[in-house]
């Protein structure tokens, strides 16, 4: 509460208000806390306070076998569990020099891109919800539900998949499932247009997001933003294209970047718009993969006691929240010596302090939503 006016002072005495946004705040997307100092509605400082969802996933990696650790990686980012699976498996494969079957690679890409669509749907949906439009969120979740159904058919799980294994994938994708995915894509492509008409071209929505919390190219690079956040600032950087892995070099896809669509380059609207375009790109990749799907086994022969030779690797995959890196050190035993995960949301937290100075409380919410931070991925 504000203090009483000091009678001896000539000037009307005011104080900054310190508000705690979170950890139970509705729009911090999980348990995430910001200590916000405001002058009325205008923020003078917003410090992110992370660590509420820390589950020691990296430490668990040292106590599990390589095979046994894969389900744990699901929990590193449960909105895009497939990428966490893939990152760790690629690291283990690189350590053990294990080959992945070609069909396995395609199954991975299909599962990952479906997962990317699901994750981006959550992202743009909650974005709308944070701005106050609740209908688009439910429309987005409706489509995600179909993806969950497809995922269930592919690997038996709807959220934490544990699908990608060292050397390939756990289960082959059947031709029937491929047909269903195609049916879904035919259904989904017009939905993006519908979504645009409902939300993206809405005047109020554009007013709320354009020119808000713009990140320049230099800032984005300095603060180590990755993924769609980086691309929205105009940097054409995509791990799938620039450090190719899996079968991505054989596929044709665009890397959407921000152009200052409705305002300045790198504002909240650009970050939103890049994600919408990535939905279309993922759909394109999926169609190509389904067409090119080769025959063969889905997983190669990997010893049950997987003992990679001593060494260290750093492997990066392009997750929906950007560059996800796995640093795995092996000492030649069944257990990894060290596992470290580098995630996009964690680095995105650092720039919030810089951007939030001078914007309003409502804009801070838009900024958090636009960075698409995800509490489990920040804390791991």
């Amino acid at each position: 509460m504000s203090e009483a006016v000091y009678p001896e002072s000539e000037v009307f005495h005011t104080e900054d208000m310190t508000i705690s946004v979170g950890p139970q705040h509705p729009s911090t997307h999980g348990v995430l806390r910001f200590v916000v100092r405001t002058d009325g509605e205008v923020i003078s400082e917003a410090l992110p306070d992370v660590g509420y969802l820390h589950r020691s996933i990296e430490k668990i990696g040292e106590k599990c076998t390589y095979h046994g650790y894969v389900p744990y990686t699901d929990r590193a980012d449960y909105l895009a569990a497939m990428f966490a699976n893939q990152g760790f498996c690629m690291a283990a494969e690189k350590l053990g020099a294990t080959e992945v079957t070609r069909r396995g690679e395609f199954c991975r890409v299909i599962a990952c891109e479906l997962n990317r669509i699901a994750s981006h749907l959550i992202s743009v949906g909650t974005f709308g919800q944070d701005i106050g439009a609740i209908t688009p969120f439910l429309h987005a979740l409706r489509e995600r539900e179909t993806i969950n159904d497809l995922m269930e058919e592919i690997c038996g799980a709807r959220l934490t998949y544990n699908y990608i294994r060292i050397g390939g994938v756990g289960y082959d994708i059947t031709p029937q499932t491929c047909d269903k995915i195609l049916v879904f894509l035919d259904h989904f492509d017009p939905i993006i247009d519908e979504y645009n008409r409902l939300l993206s071209y809405n005047k109020i929505y554009i007013e709320r997001l354009a020119n808000v919390a713009a990140i320049t190219k230099e800032d984005a690079l300095q603060y180590n933003l990755v993924g769609p956040n980086l691309r929205a600032s105009g940097v054409k950087w995509d791990i799938r294209r620039d450090i190719p892995y899996s079968v991505y070099p054989e596929l044709e896809f665009e890397v959407p970047v921000g152009h200052g669509e409705k305002g300045t380059l790198g504002d909240c609207y650009d970050r939103y718009w890049v994600r919408i375009q990535e939905l279309q790109e993922s759909s394109k990749i999926l169609r190509q993969c389904l067409k090119m799907m080769p025959k063969g086994p889905a997983i190669s022969k990997v010893p049950r006691k997987f003992k990679p030779p001593a060494g260290e690797v750093y492997v990066r995959v392009e997750a929906p929240r950007g560059d996800m890196g796995y640093y795995v050190v092996s000492d030649g035993t069944e257990y990894a010596y060290r596992v470290r995960i580098r995630t996009g949301s964690f680095t995105a937290m650092a720039i919030i302090d810089k951007l939030s100075r001078g914007i309003m409380v409502a804009d801070l919410i838009a900024l958090i939503a636009s960075l698409d931070v995800d509490a489990p991925e920040i804390d791991r």
Partner: protein, 394 residues
């Protein structure tokens, strides 16, 4: 009402009691009857309807368990909230915190005194009806500010402050829009304003002249803002301020705020109907009960149409920011509403009895706008995917 009480007194029912006391008791009884028979179910059913309409627009089902189609859901919710613990935060102001919901509630309930339901169905046809209505709706802001301050919660305080700024600002365009109609009608009584209009759309004040046409949209927008509805629901913006001024409230006190909000939806629609849409006016069908019922129906449908539009708007639009909200009010709506007032005054000088041709022209324009809107709507519906969701299994 008065005639009825008079007849009772003449028949000797209340012998020995001063007539003033009889009148006062009669008014209280009438108010209670209106409250229990009409207002409570109205707000309740509006809440159910809003949830169903929303659910339909969002590809959900909505409440459909209690009663047919879930129509009694509001009763279940009310009972649940009544049975909840009466919680007052220890740091809250012990006097103002419990008082605030009732002030909001009173401000909302008092409006029903002057809102007619039919040709003879009105609690009191005050000769300052509309002025009274603007006055009592302003009480709501006091209650909201009290709730925001007394909760001793920073989110509540921000919500209360936003609400105060918003409601006080938007009273101006709303009041000026109402003033244009008072100019035209020459009376502030709600019944008088309705009687000056006709049943045909071109006799409505909406189409009286171009300025009243604009004033209608100004009034509706400002009323949405005063009722804290999306896109102007910043005082309780759940994604920014947790729940704004209701953050610390629970149980029945919480419900009172929302009771007022949903009831207010009907008030917005009813006032728009009274001022612009010809109220309960129906073609003459020979009087009697049928005409009364018809008037009630017509008024109710017109008012509920705008309730539906408010729900629709809420399901469609995002929320504006505080500074954008204020800019919209002071930069655009206030000057425009002044223009409407001056324009109508000038119109009154040029056409003292109104212009029939202008009414027809404005009616044509209104129909044209409606047709264009419906065509756009058809386009959206054609291109939408109405399936609840695609099931590749089937």
């Amino acid at each position: 009402m008065k005639q009825f009480v008079d007849s009772l007194i003449q028949q000797g029912y209340f012998s020995g009691v001063p007539t003033q006391i009889v009148y006062a008791i009669a008014m209280i009884v009438a108010a209670l009857v209106v409250l229990s028979v009409f207002v409570a179910p109205l707000a309740g059913v509006t809440s159910w309807l809003e949830r169903r309409v929303w659910a339909r627009m969002q590809s959900r089902v909505g409440p459909n368990r209690v009663g047919p189609q879930g129509v009694l859901q509001w009763l279940a919710d009310g009972i649940k909230n009544l049975l909840k613990e009466d919680l007052i935060p220890s740091a809250a102001d012990k006097l103002l915190f419990p008082l605030a919901p009732y002030i909001v509630f009173i401000g909302f309930l008092c409006t029903f005194v002057v809102i007619p339901f039919g040709g003879h169905l009105i609690v009191a046809d005050l000769n300052i009806g509309i002025l009274y209505l603007l006055a009592v709706t302003s009480i709501v802001v006091v209650g909201i500010l009290m709730a925001g301050w007394s909760s001793n919660n920073k989110w509540s305080l921000l919500g209360g402050m936003r609400s105060a700024a918003q409601i006080v600002s938007y009273e101006i365009p709303a009041g000026l829009a109402v003033l244009t109609i008072i100019f035209v009608a020459g009376t502030m009584s709600t019944q008088g304003i309705i009687k000056n209009q006709g049943w045909a759309p071109w006799d409505w004040y909406l189409f009286y002249n171009p300025f009243t046409f604009i004033a209608f949209f100004l009034y509706f927008t400002a009323a949405l803002a005063e009722g804290n509805r999306t896109p102007f629901d910043i005082p309780e913006a759940e994604s920014e301020l947790v729940a704004g001024y209701v953050t610390e409230y629970s149980g029945m006190r919480f419900l009172f705020f929302f009771f007022a909000e949903w009831g207010n939806l009907y008030v917005i629609g009813a006032v728009a109907t009274v001022l612009f849409l010809g109220g309960w006016q129906v073609p003459a069908v020979g009087g009697g009960f049928i005409e009364g019922a018809l008037q009630f129906m017509v008024f109710f449908v017109k008012a509920y149409l705008w309730v539906f539009v408010a729900m629709w708007v809420r399901a469609t639009l995002p929320r504006v920011r505080v500074d954008q909200l204020m800019a919209l009010c002071w930069k655009y709506m206030v000057p425009l509403s002044f223009l409407c007032v001056i324009g109508t005054a000038a119109w009154m000088v040029v056409f003292p009895h109104g212009s029939r041709w202008a009414s027809f022209a404005m009616f044509g324009l209104g129909v044209l706008i409606l047709v264009l809107f419906v065509r756009r709507l058809q386009y959206q519906i054609r291109n939408a995917k109405p399936e609840l969701y695609l099931r590749p299994y089937i």
